[in-house]
């Protein structure tokens, strides 16, 4: 992480690309029991289209961390 700023007890950091990939991977494993790469492949393939599972949404919100 770099560019740490702190104010009022809340700090802000920007993830490195490697750390970003790890954020998505951790969430995909924890919530869907698959790797981040597997999640992205399924996402790109449209496997989740039309699915209304909040768990998928939770992981999808983190896609910008890996791309």
């Amino acid at each position: 992480m770099h560019d740490t700023r702190s104010d009022a007890g809340v700090e802000v950091v920007e993830a490195t690309p490697e750390e970003g990939v790890a954020v998505l991977d951790r969430a995909a494993r924890e919530v869907l029991n698959i790797s981040g790469d597997e999640f992205l492949a399924k996402w790109d393939a449209g496997d989740y289209e039309g699915m209304d599972d909040p768990a998928i949404t939770r992981v999808a919100m983190l896609i910008p961390f890996a791309r």
Binding site: V12, E19, V23, T57, A60, M61, I63, P64, F65
Partner: protein, 184 residues
């Protein structure tokens, strides 16, 4: 709020989030790579590495936790007379959890999917076995601010504020949110 540069616009976007979060937690906001300056791309932020924040409660009281994730984009500001860059929120996921990790509710907005409008999911532990509602159902809401979520954690769910001036802070930040938002 707008800024003279993309980075200034991101800082202006983050400032109210930081002040509002500080009302209930000492926390860390993590931006996705490039999230402070890169334009033309959707960024994300998480709080405490996407782990729920433990809210503070009096000794012996059940502890609830808040998980926060947002998406945003740095965009040109087309408002005359204002700074040239602003940040536009592209989605959010605000989730209240029990200490066990069970979801109590989650406020979502994730345009580009089947359910375009903001909505709430009610956690399955909050529903009776024979409930008509389900945890997967999307119940429509207006756009919800992080400030209003934090206020609800304090006023409706009994979390102890960490700042004496939390009410004023949240009111001020909520007012700015309403002033600069482009839709509700």
């Amino acid at each position: 709020m707008p800024g003279r540069t993309p980075t200034e616009a991101v800082d202006a976007f983050l400032e109210p989030l930081k002040e509002s979060l500080a009302c209930v937690a000492r926390a860390k906001i993590t931006l996705s790579p490039g999230g402070r300056a890169i334009r033309g791309k959707t960024h994300a932020l998480t709080v405490n590495d996407d782990k729920p924040i433990s809210l503070r409660y009096p000794p012996g009281a059940p502890v609830l936790m808040l998980r926060v994730c947002m998406q945003y984009e740095i965009v040109p500001n087309d408002q005359p007379g204002q700074e040239p860059w602003r940040v536009s929120t592209r989605g959010y996921d605000y989730e209240l959890q029990a200490a066990s990790g069970e979801i109590i509710w989650s406020y979502h907005w994730h345009p580009g999917t089947r359910v375009e409008r903001p909505h709430i999911h009610i956690g399955r532990t909050q529903l009776a076995d024979d409930a008509v509602m389900s945890a997967k159902a999307h119940h429509p809401t207006d756009r919800v601010s992080l400030e209003s979520i934090i206020r609800a954690c304090i006023t409706e769910y009994g979390a102890d504020p960490l700042k004496d001036d939390w009410d004023k802070t949240l009111a001020l930040r909520e007012g700015l949110f309403k002033l600069y938002r482009r839709w509700s």
